[in-house]
Symmetry: C2
Subunit: 289 residues, 2 copies
Amino acid sequence: MMNVVVVGIGLIGGSMARDLRCKYPGVSIHGMDANDAHLQEAIALELIDGIAGLQELEAADIVIVSIPVDAIVTELPKLMDAIGDNSLVIDAGSTKSEICRIIADHPRRRNFLACHPIAGTEFSGPAAAVSNLFEGKTNIICEVEKTAFKLQERALGIFSGLGMRIRYMNPEAHDRHIAYVSHLSHISSFMLGKTVIEKEKNERDIFDMAGSGFESTVRLAKSSPAMWTPIFKQNKENVVETLDEYIQNLEAFKQKLVDNNFDGIYREMDNANKIKEILKGIPQNNKDR
Amino acid sequence: MMNVVVVGIGLIGGSMARDLRCKYPGVSIHGMDANDAHLQEAIALELIDGIAGLQELEAADIVIVSIPVDAIVTELPKLMDAIGDNSLVIDAGSTKSEICRIIADHPRRRNFLACHPIAGTEFSGPAAAVSNLFEGKTNIICEVEKTAFKLQERALGIFSGLGMRIRYMNPEAHDRHIAYVSHLSHISSFMLGKTVIEKEKNERDIFDMAGSGFESTVRLAKSSPAMWTPIFKQNKENVVETLDEYIQNLEAFKQKLVDNNFDGIYREMDNANKIKEILKGIPQNNKDR
């Protein structure tokens, strides 16, 4: 029987628990979480069979660490101290450099596999967990060569069971690229929300005039500040760079408007239309949630 | 039998034609369009029964003008010259001030109702037309008092048939508010697409790392430059103002990152989370298209 401990039983950890329970009948899943209410909720939702302590980690076949990235940095070494020789630890952090650095010299480094499953929604907590969240999604694995071969195999078996595609990347490349295709989107959305909220103090006006386009661009502004603050902190340099470029592009667009350069405006949008082809390749969101 | 002429048989005009055919059995719908291929496509899709010329407008009960806003400004007066005394003309332009200004002194001003149905997708052309696009959506009507009472009634009957909610607003307020909740979202999305495309010349990297969040924020970057260039041109002053505020907010967020003010970063996101409550009031998009 497979023994799983999920550390942080929220959207990601809870969704993994759901899928593991479905794909591995008889699996035993226990949870650890700084939030007791979340643990009780996870038990009520049958995401986990019970609560785990550090002492349960020794017998764990797999430990899934799905907590905010600042908590990963402080907790991962302690978790690794407590696991057994045969335990596999994977994380699901949205940054990879600092996490890989903090664990680099740990005596059990070979029991750890650094992962970033590109899956999620703007919701959080155990109630946000859904089945098949990972189906067809990409899982980015960093420094795979630092993980014991048989534990790599165990991890890949599970990811395959969840329906994930695997991509290998070094932590620095991961953090640089993800700043563009994820972190910047979130800031863009948060600040769009802020701009409109500030202007339209009368919410009724937004309510009535906003359509699906607005909804789509500000969806990410619903995301959890507790999750995202440490991500921006850890990936600060890359994020600042993407913001600089984004702001420059917005300034240039604005200047074309001011200059009545509408041919230029047209070309800007026509070029950005290329995103159509790129988006065709992105696994579909669970749109009907 | 109701006689309808749709001028511009694309996403909006075509979707209205679909609903009218369904709600008003026996309705006769003819199309005018600068693009002959679109007219042929609209006939093949049974959106329209045939092609109309200016001479058909005299007998029209309703003329729906759903063309880019620059074309509305040049074509609307000519269309109004050709209609009958009992014809109702409505537009669907995303700007209202210049359109209302251009038609203000037309001898048939009372036959015109200025509208902006807040509905659509990022797609365009007759093939993008869908049924029930307007169900539950808001239709903003400007200067209603300038339209003949019996034609107001006719229009409201049709909008009610399409399932729309009505809001009345003056053209200047419309253009100011819509800059925030629609035009800015589009620019934000176009420039986000541009920033990522420029950085990630290797599209394969985007393809593999981008998730549903990115997809959501850049969806509008697929929108038609031919439609959006004249919107930004007509609403230039309001759009420049929203862009200034948006850029300032992005700069301030960046500065907090640079200053390691992560409490401030947290508060920014926590405040933007208020958008959750606002979004609850927005009519749902046709998400499964």
